[in-house]
Amino acid sequence: MNKPRSIKQNAYPDAVPDFRNLGVALRILLLSNAFALFKAVIDGSNWGEVLAHLIESASLLTPVLLTSMLLLWVMQPQLKRLNYVQASVAISLVVMLLTLAIFNFSGDLFEPVDDDDRRFDAMQYALLAILVSQMLLFYFRWRAQVLSQALHDARLQVLRARIRPHFLFNTLNAVLSIVRTQPKLAETALEDMADLFRMAMSEAKDLVPLRQEIKLSEQYLALEKLRMGERLQPVWQIDEAAMDAWIPPLLLQPLLENAVYHGVETLRSGGQIIIALRRIGKQLNLTIVNPCQPTDVSPHLGNKLALKNIRERLELLFDVEASYQVYAARDSYKIAITLPYLHKGEL
């Protein structure tokens, strides 16, 4: 079995944020500029002055922000090895030093008065740099803690959503029907079922190898095929380049369960479920297409729940770097998920 792995800031409440995550970068930019605006409004005595303050601080803030984020992006692997206190001190130090360096380098831009004032200004900016960086770190830590609770809840939901009673009891019934006539097939079916439920009930992990998830999905489809026979035709289109990816566990299987329950199973002659996995650069694309009953205008509630759960988990794990789209046509249903391509070396 693979050991549990955590990759993102959300998984460890006590880790500094992942500076290589787009969502983190956007939050840093937004919050620092919001802070500058806030400070300018407090410092100024009229709107003209506020604008002047804003321009002044932006001329320092923007280069400091961009260089800090670039440097932290580069330092990310080293930061990951430090504990939280060490990492947060290191980050504040980097930001402070960059602020001083840029302040000194830009020299005359900041209305030089005399040397004493200038030194005092430098100290003020250095303190501000520490204050803002610590505030941001505090914010990320708080957010991670809130999210880890949400992630925990989401996992519990997965667990509940996993064991769809309809599937459990119908499959048990199908296995019972072959116990007398095909005992060997019944054995395999029960083994597949054990694997599926072991996975569903196992300690929640953030990521598992794609191969493992595919094997699990195949076992699931084999069980459904027991009941549905030729009506169920899975078609796998897997790009070899995607095979060494790691993905959140039970991402594929619940989507297939939906495709069966709301799609193929509602059609008398059944149909194909097309599962396509492609790697495009740093992205992994997953699409599932299934036919469905044309008259069925209102999707089942359970459908929405399972999908909502997957959407939430993707959001928690990858922030804005994952996307999730549903295309509902008259007689077919397509789900397209894009997530960062992660392989073992990156975990």
Binding site: H166, F169, L172, N173, A174, S177, L267
Partner: protein, 254 residues
Amino acid sequence: MSTIELALRVFIVDDEQPARNRLRELLEDCNNQLALDIVGEAGSPQEALDKLAETPADVVLMDIRMPEMNGLELARHLQKLDKPPVIIFTTAYDEYALQAFELHAIDYLLKPIRLGRLFDALNRARSAVPIQTAVLQELLPEARKQLSIHERGKIHLVPIEQILFLRAELKYITVRTAQREYLIEESLTALEQEFAAQMVRIHRNCLVAKSAIVGFEKSSDESASNWMVKLRGVDEALPLSRRQNVLVKEFGKN
């Protein structure tokens, strides 16, 4: 009276072959203590209707969740048979309000089915009475997907989307499709309520499919001087009641 009890004729309806096999096995196990005759099985609603019209059964074991048609709807159509069978529903889980079943003394079996439960249900079935249509209608609040027509001992299913209009005539209702006409015995008001999404009332005695309306024309009859409704695939135009004149305006908007 004969001392030998007549064998109970049992019929199985389930879209999954393994589920039907399982029921057969269990029924054969029951056969030791209960005189049973498995008269047939069906994987789809139409197959069930056709086979049951040919070879009547006393008891039908019926899955609830099936493609094309829900078991409850099929049960409703089966009530049109000359001698409706007793229905025992089979279900994998709480897909339907099982409490409602109990309330109406409708028997059901949970999959995987236990031999003992099946045995008891079959024993009870001997004295049970067929479920009333009104009860089935209550349990299945959504509209039926097809109407069933009883004709010369057989039951035909007519999908709702094939119906062009329904017209009340004396004690029957004429069901008109592009191909032909059928007669059913139902209430037009109840049909109007059930199929409010697909049908619209154009006259005291007539419902038409919204999707079939192609246009309106002024009546040639001087005294009537009102609109007539033109339907796709129907030569005759149907009179529009004055009260429904608003339909002409709505049609113009679309």
